[in-house]
Point group: C2
Chain length 197, copies 2
Amino acid sequence: MESPHLLPLVGEPPRERADAVRNREALLLATSELIDASCVENVTMDAVAQRAGVGKGTVFRRFGSREGLMTAVLDHSEAQWQAAVIGGPPPLGPGAPPLDRLLAFGRSRARATVHHTALIRAAGHAGTRSYAAMSFVAMHVRYLLAELGVEGDLGYLATALLAPLEAVVLEQQLTHDGLDWDRIDAGWADLVARITR
Amino acid sequence: MESPHLLPLVGEPPRERADAVRNREALLLATSELIDASCVENVTMDAVAQRAGVGKGTVFRRFGSREGLMTAVLDHSEAQWQAAVIGGPPPLGPGAPPLDRLLAFGRSRARATVHHTALIRAAGHAGTRSYAAMSFVAMHVRYLLAELGVEGDLGYLATALLAPLEAVVLEQQLTHDGLDWDRIDAGWADLVARITR
DNA sequence: GGGTTAAACGGACCACAGTCCGCTTATATT
DNA sequence: AATATAAGCGGACTGTGGTCCGTTTAACCC
């Protein structure tokens, strides 16, 4: 029985070489391990290459830059979180009323963002997460707003609701504005209430 | 007639040396000129030092890091903008009704932020502006919300209104979400309307 | 299996941010 | 004016991100 991945699909002509796949996975693993062993800031590209047993050039070939590598690591965590939104238990996952889902989304998203602040910063894009991740959350919020019967420019309103959940903003609130999690949760819920009113 | 700065004030014992002052100004000027001549990304610390006619160590002594230098340059522009808010002509400056002032504030702030995106990014702090600058705008928005009779956690609501005006968010909206300035202005105004309702 | 080719590899090399420490000089004191 | 002192200065040095190009090798075809 053949592995299903050996079946070439039309429209995807350039298959990735086996050693390339192996190296990419080894590099992602090495990076995660080094981050866990110390912190993101202390992880150098040379160290990642050495730990993965490849040359430095290979790291840059695969991920383009340090930011690209960190983005790849971040996307991995992000995928797990997205799975909880798409198919996890309510109220974050499907099954709960839209308003409950939206509030659970905000709480969960803010926690996850702060938890990954250092990685998000290292991933660059001026502090945002990858565009794929952003469009997923924007789509989700927009969908929930529509479910709630909100009128207006839902595209803008979704990004406006997401903006206070950005790492930059949360960090400022927690570190310099003296806000605690209770006020942040309550404040965001109030924002939702005013927008959906 | 003596220069007023020659009068030493009690409580500020360590006067800054004259050559230090001169060098700081020369460095800020050199940095601005180099930014104008090319772009922020291409300005190296060596080039700044050379143009200012000082050693590289001096640049780091005065500004601590590249981010510190860029922050200093940014703060200079920011101060001019703040002056327009505090004492410029209405509706941005004082004299107009609070709602008009708030809407003018949002428009102006968003334009200024996008205009300085590259510098803001180079100034770091994970993409935010300096804390002094942030607390000024937060204070101002909070004050206008109070004038408008808004109830609730004004501290949080102010940061929530400011969040969609962050460089990271605006860049995402303009570059990837396909929003134009008309939608951004209208969307933010709608957000204000829903919050102040 | 042997040959062909294009992708992948690796490590020497470069540029730039940031540090260090011996030298210089502005300022205060007498 | 001479001296003392501490702040300021500068450029050689280090560490890390990123590039380049000659070499290796996986994948495909016969």
